[in-house]
Symmetry: C2
Subunit: 561 residues, 2 copies
């Protein structure tokens, strides 16, 4: 068979069902082979950036390998941001690219049009990247690449084929050598003992969940462990959907965290961190006392993560998939329910603070989604609103954020990928600025009539940056508001130009929104400038002492629980 | 003064008038300083890619330093394609970025949100790139960076500042140490002798002009040299505007060249290549006999370029700015006009071939531009149409292509930059697919009411790729036509959504088009599928023997001239 066919066969082996990209001369053979295969659909994007995001969204939603391809030169550089996104958020994505030039002559600025060294370009933001110029290199590179993407701490891989090689013959070397490695983890015994001892000695332990739980698909077993041991679970903001509706789950922490979650965190004496990189401001006055006062055990699949400096913590390189089931078996129930009772008290007292009409409106919209449907958030103030709205009513819905790279404009591409990963309705939420970055993909959504509901949180501003301007002490706004150089198109007319149904909404208005379930829709929410995130944690304040403050009496009552 | 102020002062020294970007927290100080300076305007784009293209367009149109900035992480990766564009097309562009993290820990996948090593990322596609973490490094890096961008073979530079450093104090070390280096060129004597001797010995010499002439600003002196010596000038397609209207200029060569230009090339016995990298297919059957049969002298400022293998040629590393004036002084007029007469004959006989209604319509539109206004072309079949239309009527108008990197979707951003470089009307021509890549920038054009006329050559297809599919032998279309997965929005409604005036045109229809001269406009030309580039050079044919063929009699008459 041809190398192109071999490659397609490999993707099928990895259960890939959809591939995204924009064709170009050097990679035509591959996409025609994709098109011929009955297991895979190949999709045309309108900017390679969106194709590469779609592969991220596909990987994030399915947990399987996401795949995007691009032609040489600008096709590849157009994907850079999404490749970095996959790297930072540990998404298993395979980027397939091609070139025509036989050898690279680095001393020459250009030898042939569009030719460049793709591999060197992405080296720092991929787990594995390889230029393939000989048939003999194909099988090893493809297997190593696919394995790297889905193994250990997941991440992006780039395979860059010579166009000539794609059309060359290769013998199919048998199936299934592409299975994930079982990585070289530490023996869990010492780790399990340390965890169980720490939990026995602790009066107020918490499990802190991160996306490692999602990536290792241990959502259910961690919940079981929490139930068996009666230990409350907290998470980072981006992981709030992992055990969302569970009664032992008490929300997300951080400087943008929920009041009750931070309150619970402030009282803990033992944190077991499951696949959470503890990226909240552990060195700030707000969180330092907690981190210093509690026993901390960090569990992560990436050894390098454990070298991040968190004083007094111990860390183990483990695969949660192996560790948590063993913990469930070994653990014994705790004897006191007092701590869980306090957590419930805190949640009950505080959960209704920090709401506003926009959050309530978004929460109504989220309510209208079915379980197992997906919300994809863009970057900006809108994501903070969504996190809060999800905390009110999101249980059961999948939530996708751009977590560590924070790429404005990524949501629309990811929403397309998430749709194909689930073949279920997706809600894509973006601000009026973020919406513009990849607005061209409305064409894809419209022409393929995908059931994607796009919610534009329109506040006529670059709200998060406006906050930065103020915090940094600038006395006037620059490029962040309608009066200072920023603007946006008429989204109702944009919807019309792309042939997408449109509906406007206001946070404070009653009246039901009719959400479509089998075709594209744009819902524009006019935030009217009064629906920002009011709650904030001033520098130096204890992490539970958000502004606006709750009454002194209530605060000291809760603080003394 | 603060480092931000120092940086702005440097830009003013380099006569920068406009800077493009999207703000972010780490780089706020710099853009507020830009905003305060009366010599510089700072502009807000709607995707960093377009900001970075705008800087390319500004540099390409003005010949001065172009500048774009971006915030860390995705801000920088979003600019990658345009940075590569500047590298491939030798455009002097300074990219200014910022970061907040003090030290980079490469072994850790993420330490802080969005933090990465920007410099390593762009190393292969910049002339100079430097991370600046100490005040002591600022002056040297800024001077070295600006110098590198504008000296020798021009190109992009990236300076990546720590946010802290931007706000730190620096002493302004005096002006003007940023002037371009006079690079280490070869003594022109040997070179001049060789050129003059070769020209004396040649019966049919040509000057082959490339963009090096534009970049060295020697358009007028090369024309003088041609006049003094009565030597015809040819160029590559992307340089057809350099001496466009000159009577000794005979068009552009190559496999997409003009029939008469290639005919002239086929008869030459001596090629003096001025800043032209001879990227046409010199090893193909079509061009090899010419390259082997003629004496070739290559003049380039980039030593590496001269090592490109063109058998039998000699090359000199020279600065055309120094060389050409000396040649003008030394050269003596040639005695025979026979060769120029033949060139005119060939042009007269052949210039009306290979036309079609779309080319004629575009040529009418180009006619309506004033001299010194600018045409910016996108990538695809539309650029070939424009090249031909320009050959009919473009004299005096500036023409900008994406030459070596061939970035689809770059024209709209570049058009914005070209406008600010000239403060004159710009026509931006793109296909219906290319138009979609950075369609978000219509918002910039509209909200700032720039006099940019956007011409969409709409053929409902990805025409150039459709050709590739056919040439590579695929029997059906895939993602290139309306029936095979490709589509585009209703551009009339798009214009309305962005508040831009719209007009439709058909190649064969009479009736005048009213072209606006002081506000944005979209003109959509419906090509109706019959206005492709018919003329082509089949593999193995002599370079002057395009299909469709001219009559045998005429061909052999012209061939025997």
């Amino acid at each position: 068979m041809k190398v192109s066919q071999y490659l397609v066969k490999k993707l099928v082996e990895y259960k890939v069902t959809d591939v995204f990209g924009i064709p170009g001369g050097v990679i035509l053979d591959f996409i025609y082979e994709l098109d011929k295969d009955e297991n895979i659909d190949v999709h045309l994007s309108y900017h390679e950036q969106a194709a590469a995001y779609a592969a991220c969204g596909y990987a994030q939603r399915s947990g399987r390998l996401g795949v995007a391809y691009a032609t040489k030169g600008p096709g590849v550089t157009n994907m850079m941001t999404a490749i970095a996104e996959a790297y930072y958020d540990s998404l298993p994505v395979l980027y397939i690219t091609a070139h025509s030039q036989k050898a690279l002559r680095r001393e020459l600025r250009i030898e042939e049009e569009q030719e460049m060294d793709h591999v060197r370009l992405v080296r720092d933001i991929t787990k594995y990247a390889k230029r393939i110029d000989a048939v003999g290199e194909v099988a090893e590179a493809v297997n190593a690449g696919c394995r790297a993407a889905v193994s250990g701490r997941k991440g992006p891989v780039l395979l860059d084929f010579s166009a000539r090689i794609l059309k060359s013959e290769i013998e199919f070397p048998g199936e299934h050598e592409g299975k994930p490695d079982s990585a070289d983890h530490e023996a869990p015994d010492v780790c399990i003992n340390n965890i169980l001892t720490s939990l026995r000695e602790s009066a107020r332990p918490v499990f802190l969940l991160g996306d490692g739980v999602r990536l290792s698909k241990t959502e259910e077993t961690i919940a079981k462990l929490s139930e068996k041991m009666d230990i409350p679970m907290l998470s980072s903001r981006f992981s709030q959907d992992i055990v969302g509706g569970h009664e032992n789950y008490f929300g997300y922490i951080g400087s943008h965290g929920l009041r009750y979650s931070n309150f619970i965190l402030s009282k803990t004496d033992c944190i077991i961190s499951f696949g959470n990189r503890m990226a909240f401001q552990t060195e700030s006055e707000s969180f330092k006392p907690i981190v210093e006062g509690a026993k901390i055990i960090r569990l992560d699949i990436d050894e390098q993560e454990l070298q991040r400096d968190i004083p007094g913590s111990s860390g183990y390189r483990v695969d949660l998939k192996e560790l948590i089931p063993e913990l469930v078996q070994t653990a014994v129930p705790r004897k006191s329910f007092e701590w869980l009772r306090i957590c419930h008290k805190l949640k009950d007292e505080l959960k209704d603070y920090d709401m506003n009409p926009a959050i309530m409106k978004l929460s109504c919209l989220i309510d209208m989604l079915n379980e197992d449907e997906t919300l994809v958030c863009d970057i900006g103030n809108n994501e903070l609103l969504v996190s809060r709205a999800y905390a009110v009513s999101g249980n059961g819905k999948n939530l996708m954020h751009s977590k560590a790279f924070k790429t404005v404009g990524s949501a629309i591409g990811k929403a397309i990928g998430a749709y194909y990963a689930s073949r279920k309705r997706v809600m894509c939420i973006a601000g009026d600025q973020g919406m513009q970055f990849n607005i061209q993909e409305l064409q894809y959504i419209s022409s393929n009539q995908l059931p994607i509901v796009i919610v534009i949180c329109n506040n006529n501003a670059s709200e998060m940056l406006k906050d930065s301007e103020r915090k940094q002490g600038y006395t006037y706004e620059l490029h962040t508001t309608l009066n200072s150089g920023y603007s946006h198109p008429n989204f109702k007319k944009i919807a019309d130009a792309y042939g997408i149904k449109y509906m406007a909404a206001r946070p404070s208005a009653d009246g039901t929104i009719e959400m479509l379930d089998n075709e594209p829709q744009i819902i524009e929410i006019f935030l009217d400038g009064q629906c920002g995130i009011q709650q904030h944690l001033p520098k130096g304040y204890p992490c539970q002492m958000f502004l606006p403050q709750i009454s002194k009496d209530l605060y000291s009552y809760l603080d003394n629980l």
